[in-house]
């Protein structure tokens, strides 16, 4: 390719950056989302294992949340670092982030379960008496946490996370789209100023949210790095979703020459660095300390993940969330070549989902001490199933993905697909990796 042909002039005309044509796709996605969720609810309603249904919803809802939180992180980190390169791809990230304005509604089923007094089917510590009768030693560990793990504080915290996330999403979205019409540079400065406390609020909220909703599923267990692990998962999901939204918009004929291979390479680098390498670094750090110390109140969490089918899920994560994408996306050209990045992003999105599946579903069996040795324990739980065949998984996944893409496109349809009057847009359009 010659030098002259490599330069594809950015097209900032309405035809290229106004997404009114997205309406039909958005409506279709929302329809698919709501129908799938409705079918899932109808099936789940008659299920004999409501705890499992609730956990399937928890996992898929967390997947949607991870995508939106990844988008939020992308947006404020660009403001925080005064980044110029990313302006051309910031609007799609803002649209993903805006899902935080409705995702809180996904928590309502858990409120309802609590009002029915049944929330212990998801988070066992809601019923201390049951833990005490099943395993007094475990109960002692959980009771010591009652100052944190109690229903009132749990719901106050959840409300705080939703308020923080929605407020940040609202603030960054509002200022960004208002700048499209008034071109005010002061808005950029204001967003940069807010980005600093936003980082702090974001870090604290997702740390405690992951402790409450995921670590709390095994209340006796603890890991101090857990919030960071969830954050890495959010990056894998959010950045991959961002890459896919950009790629799909361009495939649909939008943003011609606005988003270039240079931007794709940088999004690819972020997926690689945060979603693949950083995730593996944190996952291994957590694993190694627990493996080395090998004390029962910590290692049972990993034990549950190497029984029966779960050992294949663990192995799949090691290979699919790290080894394979590491080798695939390490190269410059796979990140710049659209087909390469599409494959990498879909792959990482799938494994971000599997990562949450692996975090949410396995349960630590009671009475581990009654087995003679590990071999006997593994044999006793050899038929532990990961329930991949359960259609609820796929219906709820389709439901969440339908709603996320639908609401994301609804947002993009109402406003220009690029921050057209951001003072650094020109820098972004002419951005080149050295």
């Amino acid at each position: 390719m010659s030098h002259a042909a490599a330069y594809d002039a950015p097209d900032l005309s309405d035809r290229s950056i106004i997404g009114t044509g997205l309406s039909a796709t958005a409506r279709l996605a929302l329809l698919v989302g709501f129908v799938c969720l409705a079918v899932a609810v109808a099936i789940g309603w008659r299920s004999e294992d409501p705890g499992h249904v609730a956990k399937v919803w928890l996992q898929n809802w967390l997947f949607g949340l991870a995508i939106a939180l990844g988008g939020l992180f992308f947006v404020f980190i660009q403001h925080l670092t005064h980044a110029g390169w990313s302006v051309a791809v910031r609007r799609p990230a803002e649209a993903l982030m805006s899902n935080l304005l409705w995702l809180w509604a996904g928590f309502i089923p858990f409120v309802v379960l609590h009002l029915q007094g049944r929330l212990s089917i998801v988070w066992p510590w809601f019923d201390m008496a049951a833990i005490r009768s099943a395993d007094p030693a475990e109960a002692a560990l959980v009771e010591a946490k009652a100052g944190y793990l109690n229903p009132q504080f749990f719901f106050i915290r959840a409300a705080a996370y939703f308020v923080v996330w929605a407020a940040l999403a609202f603030f960054f979205w509002r200022n960004s789209v208002a700048q499209d019409s008034d071109g005010s540079v002061a808005r950029s400065s204001r967003m940069e100023r807010v980005a600093a406390p936003a980082t702090l609020l974001f870090g604290l909220s997702i740390t405690f949210a992951s402790v409450d909703w995921i670590m709390g599923l095994s209340p006796a267990w603890f890991s101090t790095i857990f919030g960071v692990y969830f954050f890495a998962g959010c990056c894998a999901a959010g950045f991959s979703a961002l890459a896919l939204v950009c790629l799909r918009l361009q495939a649909a004929g939008y943003l011609k020459g606005v988003i270039t291979a240079e931007h794709y390479q940088d999004i690819g680098k972020l997926i690689f660095a945060f979603g693949i390498v950083f995730w593996a670094y944190i996952a291994f750090s957590q694993y190694m300390l627990i493996w080395y110390a090998n004390i029962p109140e910590e290692n049972t969490w990993y034990l549950a993940r190497q029984l029966g089918e779960w050992k294949w899920v663990s192995a799949a994560l090691l290979l699919g969330h790290f080894c394979i994408p590491f080798l695939f996306l390490i190269s410059r050209w796979t990140k710049r070549y659209k087909v390469g990045l599409t494959i990498g992003a879909i792959w990482m999105l799938a494994f971000a989902w599997l990562d949450l599946y692996y975090l949410v579903h396995p349960h630590i069996p009671h009475g581990l001490g009654k087995h003679e040795n590990y071999a006997a324990l593994a044999a006793a739980h050899a038929d532990e199933s990961a329930h991949f065949g359960d259609p609820l998984n796929w219906l709820m996944l389709a439901g969440v993905l339908g709603l996320i893409s639908g609401f994301t496109l609804m947002r993009l349809r109402e406003h220009p697909l690029v921050c057209r009057r951001d003072p650094r847009l020109d820098e972004s359009l002419h951005f080149h990796n050295i």
């Binding site: 030098h3 493996w291 080395y292 090998n294 190269s331 410059r332 080149h432």
Partner: protein, 205 residues
């Protein structure tokens, strides 16, 4: 150094006054736009032993010069792979073998029981594998870059040119090596002058 007011028709490789070998020609330009254009033309004229010298990175210059991508990333990957393998072998040998083998002296591993873990415990090996991978990747990147750039070298004929000092300040230079198969002093000088250079000079070794 001699200015080229009257180039001889036949190009001698040694200039008359000093009897020193001609290294090549340099052309000085005022701005990035001129050097981008100059680079395109020099490339199209078929030169291969030439370079551009600018005070800051000029976007598009690599493409204009037709520079292929560096093989450095491949070298770094190999370096990382070597580091990983080395770390694994080192630990497997030292932690896990009681075998002795002859390497001028008797060498033996040192199996040592830690926390009741097996001698060969991959999780315990990973931090060292990680560190050595990073170390050898980084060293390969730094020293590979030096090597591919022909460094270290103590000096370069270009530094003998007084005007060339401004390559690190506000001027843009194209240099063409006299060993280039297409190099013909009169023709090359004519080409450089036609590109809008403010000055074209010969550089001696």
């Amino acid at each position: 150094m001699t200015t080229l007011a009257t180039p001889p028709p036949q190009v001698p490789l040694r200039t008359a006054e000093t009897k020193r070998r001609l290294w090549g020609l340099i052309a000085e330009f005022d701005n990035p736009a001129l050097i981008l254009q100059a680079a395109e033309r020099v490339r199209h004229a078929g030169y291969t032993l030439w370079d551009c010298h600018t005070p800051f990175p000029v976007h598009g210059l690599d493409a204009a010069m037709g520079i292929r991508r560096t093989i450095l990333p491949v070298l770094v990957f190999m370096g990382g792979l070597t580091g990983a393998t080395l770390a694994l072998v080192l630990q497997v040998f030292t932690n896990g073998t009681a075998l002795s083998f002859w390497a001028l002296v008797w060498v033996t591993g040192y199996p040592f029981l830690v926390s009741g873990k097996p001698f060969w415990s991959i999780p315990a090996f990973i931090p060292v594998i990680f560190e050595l991978t990073v170390l050898l990747s980084a060293l390969t990147a730094a020293f590979g870059m030096f090597f591919l750039n022909g460094l270290p070298r103590l000096s370069h004929p270009l530094f003998g040119n007084r005007h060339f000092l401004r390559a690190s300040d506000d001027r843009f230079f194209v240099s063409i090596d006299a060993r280039d198969p297409n190099f013909l002093r009169s023709r090359t000088e004519g080409l450089l002058r036609s590109l809008g250079a403010r000055r074209v000079e010969a550089v001696e070794e």
